[in-house]
Symmetry: C2
Subunit: 343 residues, 2 copies
């Protein structure tokens, strides 16, 4: 303890040392190049939001041992921390502006910090998002918080509310890859680079999300806890019933092979539809908007698939491979059971 | 595990039970009455910022055992979590709009949650600030993050940069109370309700901060790590030297008595000026603006005191009770030594 610590250039922290909080901030300062961050030299950022736009604000916290495996690559942890927040912005059609992060670190060393900072810089650069600020704390646990801020044209943010009976239900990309990737990363299934990458590095569907309102979609959310449970949530929020046709759920080639090997038929697809961590977009589209949504998907280079529809009623119905109604034992992960269940 | 958990009305959680994450969100929902929060039913808030204003954004994280004593009243923890963030907004002259919180809880029970929620509701109501959103996680540690968002007239946010040689240095309120209160709370000194309250319930100086730019102040920050170290930081950021006259530092009656009992003379005042957690405002004022600042202090019902000045040079000089130069062994708390040192 003593006077203010001298600011050290990055690289002075030895890899095996536990960096001091001031050293962590110095490393983050290199990433915080947006003028709003003021070089992290004040206690707050000063940012001029785009004129007349609404802001979309979200916060997610992840903890070691709960949301990621203790041995995970810190670069991937940083990517996922930011990407999952940006996925919430994507679901509302927002353009990301910046993030603030809260890093509570345990005994992570200089090498960990360097990898984390590299992943953070990469994901922020990929999605043209600024590091506005943050805080860092040393404690007996690793807890990483991220607040993401984006903007959207006034009145044009999509939410879970607004879907109507008669709408089709669409999902982007493929479903179930991340869950299968987690099983592989845990050693419960053979390694698979594609599936593991889908778990480690989710890609927020920003370009698709930003076009959905104009294309005529009525409601949207991102799929984080499992396709079925999230479809149930969207339907309940909109006051309608969802019907999901398992045979229509888009699977990657790798997921199809793996699920086919493990258990062919509806069980494999149920696994995909309840495994969570997809970070794809789920959205409701009136039939008249089909061609606009297909055109958007092409422009955004993001495949979309109709997986069912919405009708009067409440809750979710799941149809098996031959159209028979199923009663799944579970729909996905709830707030009380982490979707990446590292514990 | 199963389908989406039924939403329970608050009060169903038994006090001694560990509430599930969905139950925590239900309790927070009662506080999140601002339309931007959308009842916490979507993954993000949608907020229209005041037209043409700049936003001020800050994030602070606190951890049990590091920033607060394990036995602290959860209501006080919530107050302090929010108030310290609002203090960062106050220093820049911003009007608070809303917060997002990230609650990582360990085994805190229903009674803890109820007290925390009550304190959160109280501090947000006191400072007319909305709960925009947040996230909650169960893990093996208690880590509480808060992102606060405020707004300020464009180009009129005060920062640490801008103080000039010849400016006077002022501080609001009284200094050292919180540090003495912490000692009392830890049982290292006799109990004192006033001093303990100053530690438990900091009052962000929003009204004062919001008037400082117009009154002619050139730089400001909040005093969180100790008056001397923060004065040193302000001076360094502005490229000038600070001179602090210990005899001028404003002490409360209670702090004066306690410091007089413990060690009279400069040592007691040094204790006050290095003990941290004051959450008062420190600001630089050209002599021509003195009367405007005094008028502002009256209007904001916040006493302010000239404690020294700024001159050409670098770093900080501390003058003792008879004007003799001192060389304090420490200036306050650095990022690497928590100011409320519960560990």
């Amino acid at each position: 303890m003593g006077a203010a610590p001298p600011l050290k250039p990055s690289g002075v922290v030895t890899k095996s040392q536990v960096p001091a909080e001031s050293e962590i901030i110095d490393r983050l300062r290199e990433i915080a190049s947006h003028p709003a961050a003021r070089g992290l030299r004040d206690d707050a950022a000063i940012w001029q939001p785009p004129l007349g736009r609404e802001l979309v604000l979200t916060h997610d916290t992840i903890a070691r041992g709960v949301h990621y495996l203790p041995g995970a690559d810190p670069s991937d942890i940083a990517w996922k921390l930011v990407a999952t927040n940006l996925s919430d912005l994507a679901a509302m059609g927002a353009v990301p502006s910046g993030i603030l992060i809260g890093l509570t670190l345990d005994r992570e060393d200089g090498a960990w910090l360097e990898r984390f900072a590299a992943g953070l810089a990469r994901v922020l650069s990929e999605y043209d998002t600024a590091l506005f600020g943050g805080d860092t704390v040393r404690a007996g646990a690793t807890v990483l918080g991220c607040t993401a801020i984006g903007h959207v044209e006034r009145g044009r943010a999509l939410t879970r509310i607004g879907a109507q009976a008669g709408d089709d239900l669409y999902v982007s990309g493929t479903i179930g890859d991340a869950g299968l990737g987690l099983a592989a990363l845990r050693g419960e299934a053979p390694a698979d680079r594609f599936l593991e990458r889908r778990h480690r590095l989710p890609m927020p569907r920003l370009a698709l999300g930003q076009g959905l309102f104009a294309a005529g979609a009525r409601a949207a959310m991102d799929v984080s806890d499992g396709l079925l449970i999230d479809a149930d949530r969207l339907a309940r929020a909109s006051g309608v019933a969802a019907e999901i046709d398992l045979a229509l759920i888009p699977l990657s080639k790798q997921a199809g092979l793996r699920l086919g090997e493990a258990d062919s038929g509806p069980d494999g697809r149920l696994t995909a539809a309840t495994s969570g961590d997809d970070y794809e977009l789920l959205f409701a589209v009136p039939p008249a908007a089909t061609s606009a949504v297909v055109a958007l998907a092409g422009a955004a280079r993001t495949p979309v698939t109709r997986i069912g529809g919405l009708s009067a009623g409440r809750g979710i119905r799941v149809l098996g491979m031959t159209g028979e109604p199923l009663a799944p034992g579970r729909l996905g992960f709830t707030h009380d059971a982490p979707s990446t269940g590292a514990r």
